[in-house]
Symmetry: D2
Subunit: 301 residues, 4 copies
């Protein structure tokens, strides 16, 4: 089958390569001409605009958007709109908010599949995990492409109607934050504990047969191998946070307590306040003087 | 009545002054001779050793220990031991662990009262809150002294048998940690929020009629008045933590979840790790590269 | 001066009474005719509609809304709108979201003051704490009324421009949730701990001189006095949660970690899931069988 | 080589079988004669007492204890003591506290290896992850046995001196609690969220290529497959907790905040208080009446 791919960044390019490898045809577009040229070298048909891509795909277009969440998705859909009919299928493989996806599913003339994509660039060879929301017929129509992009047939599934793919992906990411922080707590205790341990050896031993073995733990093992058991100059500064924030917001809506996910998100916020410090703790410092006349620790000027 | 006071630091001296003010006699001792001289000037009879103090008190000794928790309490009790009978009463007004207090109650020849003392140096004028554990007769015998040291008759009570006074004080302090951090979170949000607020004015308005008014909030108001709405050079470094740690340990024993108290204690630990940063978050930073090839924030050398 | 009061529920009626007591005139309206009649008996001039109330107030109207947050505020403002000019002042004394208040401040022809009101029905005699946002001139114009409704001049202040009053009140409530839960953790530990304690006596002793003394702790003391040390048949079900949810949402926006406030909110959610139990813990129960063949606790049918 | 195995419960029996399968000889003992007979059928030499086992092993004994943590380990060591020399090696493969292990390492006449064993009965076929503490020569001497019991050479490693094996295992379990609860929060949100999802399908899709794939997530998938997407009659009651408690206690000693691990442990405690409810929340319920005259939810008699 023939797939149009819009967005040839790291993730989009992996989609192109895996779909080509599976024997399908790809028409590829990106605002970055070099990315288009590179995809063409790999076997894709280059397009020089969204409109050009749409025209090259003919009737019954199948289009995969792999652009940054937010405005770029709407921009691509605006360009595509006039060229789409309800026989066409558009997949949004990015990290969109599920409410944007349900809105776009309603506004887009084509069938719309919101596709949560997990596995990251590092998962390029294995294939991704794809959580898909949208009309059943469209999901089935795209199955050959999903088979190619995912780890295989078991690596993708239709979660439910419009929005459900990105909804499940959002929650996936919330869990991911908590898992990372949970491993981090364990290693932090070991790093500050009673024994002088080789944390790479700890992680490797755990990855071979222990209950907590996982891909994230393999990445911990890799991190210790590459950075050293003390993580070298890796800073206490954790970027990102949008999907975790969305998860907590949705959990507030549903009145479901998610204290571990919240705490993991809060640690990210806390890591970014490190220079100035946490106001709450500065106040606690001062209050201890207030009632107990304990000395106030003060910053150097 | 006549009271022996051992330990004339900030808190011990307040005990001396309040007991003298109430018309009782005080025999005072401290390893620091100047502290003894100063208490003598205030009207106490000076003693030049624990033994001297014991001898000056005659039969039916009533002795208040106000020395640092731990070894100093045992040392004072060792010195007092040979001079005590079961007609005597010893009060430990410090922050001892309740299990030390139950042990000492068994080992000490006199009746033993463990007395949790709250209110801090700043509460000297108002009087303290005294949570007392130990034999009923001894508690009643000392009531005139408790009336004087506490805010009055309502400011002290017998909690139960040996250890219960320090037990209730331990939990008091655990709650104190959580209250401080709770106010801190509110002010941190206001300090980083959408409006340019005068936090002293906020605290003052709250202290006049709002549900969350409290003495700690009055201390917040004072802190903002004296340090400024941004807390000036007050550092993000919170010392202390022993009674909070004991509270969490006891809650683990009793299988009672105390997540707010735990979190408040953890913030103190976190504030002390600020230079090097939290290992857990450094690992999360690196893991984001591991799966997502996100750039790793690194420390400057 | 003359004040129109719309909404004569528990809180609105307290406003009427306190303003009348201070020697001002009140025109009162509520959808409930009995409430109007009762206010009239107390000395207010009754109005039989919002329009009637507006007409009775003449030029330079000063109107206090004390209706439930949300739709009722907008409905009252819609009715008032045609009768307002920019010489008039409308106060919203309810628990509105600050973003609704900024919107209403823009839409309302009169000067608009958003007034966070804390202290609750139980604070009727003492007066309330009022956190006011909006134009300075309007705040000053209403000062005699604020003096009467608040605990006095110290019990109200202008926080800043439109929305800031309800913003500060929102954070106040978030802190309130955490304080309640912090005291609750302490008493839960004492109730399950090593000593058989009289929790009313504990609370009373703490309220007299201890660092954690507060109005909420006085309410704890009252609760134990009225319900018994085991709280009798008081259920583990905590209603409410909107202002706490707003606080956490705003903290997410501002990337300020508020783990204690979050946890306190989550406990409310958790209390409401008690019948069916927490899904997360049910899964943990089952997973322990998965890896360890530990017996699975199952519900009776 | 020849290995004595004391303790033939589920885990001990797996040790026997894997060591036999690897071509070694096993002498097996358990207080339960049927367990001994069954091991004999599988190829082990039966022993009818600890002493008998010790005598059958001859010089240079290698003995694996797989008995419940605590008293049974000390009892077995007491029996073995007179028969051990410093050429012998004893392995404790159970979940002992690391401080017990360091004490036993000092008291036992033989070389002592504390061996944290993870993987559970369900990991019998794959082999376990073994974290070993103790003398290097003893670890190397036992390597053929560790190769057999573990997943292979990568599944075991010497962490460091006495106690370090059980120390690392303790932290492993603390992390395990947090991971389970993190997945639980995600699935709880999905179970209560906006879409009607098949949670087995979600878990399966995640296990194929998603960042959060892991063995625990495979066990989630299995749980949903076997119990249904709503977990059927699986109760909200999580047993266990000792190793998690130890982890938090050690983290308190080291002043390392582990809020996710703590929270996961607290959820277990909370699940066990479900009948009577949480006292803290009952108090919050009542306090809402105290300040706001909100109706108090009460239990049915």
């Amino acid at each position: 089958m023939q797939l149009g791919v819009i967005g040839l960044g790291r993730m989009g390019r992996i989609v192109v390569d895996r779909v080509l490898d599976a024997g399908h045809d790809v028409v590829a577009f990106d605002l970055d001409e070099e990315a288009v040229a590179s995809a063409a070298e790999a076997g894709a048909t280059p397009a020089d605009s969204v409109v050009d891509l749409a025209e090259r795909l003919g009737d019954e277009k199948r289009i995969w958007l792999m652009v940054p969440a937010g405005e770029p998705v709407d921009a691509a859909l605006d360009d595509l709109g006039p060229h789409l009919t309800d026989d066409d299928v558009v997949v949004d493989g990015g990290n969109s908010h599920f409410e944007d996806s349900t809105r776009r599913a309603e506004e887009t003339p084509a069938a719309y599949l919101d596709c949560g994509t997990s596995g990251g660039p590092a998962g390029a060879e294995l294939g991704f995990s794809l959580m898909v929301g949208g009309p059943e017929w469209a999901y089935e129509e795209l199955t050959p492409v999903f088979d190619a992009v995912a780890t295989g047939p078991a690596g993708h599934d239709r979660m439910g109607p419009a929005g459900s793919g990105h909804y499940v992906k959002m929650v996936h990411n919330g869990v991911e934050y908590a898992l990372m922080q949970a491993y981090g707590e364990g290693f932090e205790l070991l790093a500050n504990g009673r024994y002088d341990l080789d944390l790479e050896a700890v992680a490797r031993t755990w990855n071979n047969g222990a209950v907590i073995r996982s891909w994230l733990l393999e990445l911990c093992e890799e991190a210790f191998r590459e950075e050293g058991t003390d993580l070298g100059d890796v800073d206490d500064y954790v970027a990102g946070g949008s999907t975790g924030t969305w998860t907590v917001q949705e959990a507030l809506e549903q009145e479901v307590p998610v204290p571990l996910i919240y705490q993991a998100l809060g640690e990210r916020f806390g890591s970014r306040a490190r220079e100035d410090g946490r106001f709450s703790r500065r106040l606690a410092n001062r209050l201890r003087y207030g009632f107990g006349r304990h000395e106030v620790a003060r910053r150097e000027k």
